[in-house]
């Protein structure tokens, strides 16, 4: 069971990918489907691996990520 959870707001995300580099677990990836503003938002690939470190959210310039932990 996931000890942490990451929620990405698809409409806020601009697909800059900065979070993907910041994630120590490398579980964030850019999706191939664009949002209503034409950006390709990021998604969590393997949510089980998330440790809730919050790095992704810290570096996200668009404040598109919320992070929860047990």
């Amino acid at each position: 069971m996931a000890r942490a959870r990451v929620i990405i707001d698809r409409e806020f995300c601009k697909g800059c990918a900065l979070c993907t580099y910041a994630c120590p677990k490398k579980i964030l990836v850019i999706s191939s489907d664009f949002n209503s503003r034409g950006y390709y938002p990021v998604t969590v690939q393997d949510v089980e691996k998330c440790i809730g470190c919050g790095f992704c959210a810290q570096v996200c310039p668009d404040v598109a990520i919320t992070v929860y932990r047990e």
């Binding site: 942490a4 959870r5 409409e11 806020f12 601009k14 697909g15 800059c16 990918a17 900065l18 580099y21 910041a22 503003r37 950006y39 809730g52 470190c53 919050g54 790095f55 959210a57 810290q58 570096v59 996200c60 310039p61 668009d62 404040v63 990520i65 919320t66 992070v67 929860y68 932990r69 047990e70």
Partner: protein, 252 residues
């Protein structure tokens, strides 16, 4: 589940108008977080720039005044002198603060005006499409330095923070970057101190925030943060440039 990270209360819930990978949003989030933590949103007045972040008042949930390009320090002075009990902060880009607004920021520092200034240095005029800024690095190509900045012709990159540290009225001057989580933590602490310098009436405070402009640098967001770390930080070293008395020096 406990929230590890969520949007600060004072940051309004709407998407930023900046390009992908631009750190203007990040800087504004940190300011909002500190405002939340200091619990001063009700008596804070922000002063916005003309530049990419001209719409800052749409994002941070406090009272705002935006005037002409470069004059935020003067506007902030007017506000602070009228309402000494308010917390007044300004937010400016490098063109705004270090080109057209040079005189205003220097004299605000010199007067020790009790305001907190944020200076987002992206080494370029973002809003107008990527012309040379006073902070453009030597050799850097911009729309108006097509062959790269040549100090013999265009002068040297201007270190505003160092210049303001000379002013007797400045109490706190720091330079930060937001390219890594630990830098972001330090930045937030500096932002906090910069607000405290005002609240505790120490004097003028400024935090210079190095920031990428992927659009005008012609880079991907990742390339841009890497370039920032490799090229900007060496010329614009991070850290606290000036901490006047009373204010403790270490960054947590």
């Amino acid at each position: 589940m406990e929230v590890v990270f969520k949007r600060p209360r004072t940051l309004l819930k709407k998407p930023f108008t900046y390009c992908p990978g631009c750190h203007h949003g990040l800087a504004q989030r940190l300011i909002a977080e500190v405002i939340d933590e200091l619990n001063i949103a009700d008596r804070t007045i922000g002063v916005g720039p003309i530049g990419c972040s001209v719409y800052i008042y749409e994002f941070i949930d406090v009272d705002f005044v935006v005037g002409a390009h470069g004059r935020a320090p003067a506007i902030a002075t007017g506000i602070k002198r009228a309402l000494p009990d308010c917390v007044v902060f300004s937010y400016q880009g490098d063109g705004d603060i270090a080109a057209i607004g040079t005189s205003e920021i220097i004299h605000v520092a010199n007067r020790g005006e009790l305001i907190t200034a944020f200076f987002v240095n992206n080494a370029v005029f973002g809003m107008t499409g990527g012309q040379m800024a006073p902070t453009t690095l030597v050799g850097q190509k911009t729309k108006t330095t097509p062959f790269g900045r040549n100090p013999e012709v265009h002068g040297f990159p201007f270190r505003l923070g160092e210049c303001l540290s000379v002013a007797e009225g400045s109490a706190y001057i720091a330079r930060v970057a937001l390219t890594r989580p630990q830098f972001i933590r330090q930045a937030k602490e500096c932002i906090r101190k910069a607000f405290l310098a005002q609240i505790e009436q120490k004097g003028f405070a400024l935090v210079e925030i190095l920031s990428p402009c992927p659009t005008n640098w012609g880079m991907s967001p990742k390339e841009a943060v890497d370039w920032l770390e490799q090229h900007m930080i060496p010329y614009f070293p991070l850290g606290e440039l000036k901490v006047k008395e009373c204010l403790s020096r270490e960054t947590s």
